[in-house]
Symmetry: C2
Subunit: 125 residues, 2 copies
DNA sequence: TCTTGACTACTACAAATGTAGCAGTATACT
DNA sequence: AGTATACTGCTACATTTGTAGTAGTCAAGA
């Protein structure tokens, strides 16, 4: 479900990540997480939260005079459609450039390598 | 070099792909390729070409009254930085979601699988 | 040479995005 | 109770993106 969501901008991704980590949170909570990465004003974060509600990535709720925001999309499914879109519009379903990038990236945790090998085995039989 | 280029939008990607395939081309050439995928007006394509010149992805040249556009960026390097940005802002350098997506995608050409295996071998020694 | 069509240069305009500011109200401290 | 704070709701405004339209010019055919 939740299929036809509008795309997220890079900035909105940053906000959503904080929301997914925190679960139901006040604007200030999210602000405090996010400001460590980006020097945004509180109201900037607030604006983006409200836009994410409008885009139906977050649910909105009031507790007294506080605004609470809760993710109503999962990180997993949103990430998946981001990948799908990326493979579609940028890479034309060609995985090689990613694999090359992966292979060149010397910072890869070796568990990733292991998982990948396992996936290939499975896929391969 | 050519490092700090502005990001391309999805639509601009479509145009750039046509440009990379065609090399130096007139606006009409590009339009004819692109219109098969997107029902854009000629002037829409023209506008995007001009924006891509401004963004320094294309070089501009006149031949008589014709406008010629030539890529001055390589598909490879632009793709690479798109991947970099994607890994950065969306996936936090975690390759697993891509691999999972790859593994689930039953339409993968088996050469891709082979190449991936080879890459892993190399990386793994 | 007049007309028609192709091309370009320039302009347009709404929606999305980045980035807040401000005024008003609710709270909490003195 | 009065004052300083914290929050919210609303507004703002420049830039980027999507998507053209139009007027003027050049070239080719009648």
């Amino acid at each position: 479900m939740n299929n036809e969501l509008q795309k997220l901008s890079d900035s909105e991704w940053l906000i959503m990540k904080a929301c997914w980590i925190s679960g139901k949170s006040t604007a200030r909570d999210i602000y405090q997480k996010v400001v460590k990465k980006k020097k945004w004003e509180y109201t900037t974060v607030k604006t983006m939260l409200d836009r994410l509600v409008k885009k139906e990535y977050l649910e909105f709720e009031k507790l007294g005079n506080l605004c609470l925001y809760t993710p109503c999309t999962s990180n997993k499914s949103v990430t998946e459609s981001a990948i799908k879109n990326f493979m579609n519009t940028i890479l034309d379903h060609n995985f090689m450039p990613i694999f090359l990038y992966f292979a060149k990236d010397r910072k890869i945790p070796s568990e990733d390598l292991e998982s990948l090998k396992k996936l290939i085995e499975e896929y391969d039989q």
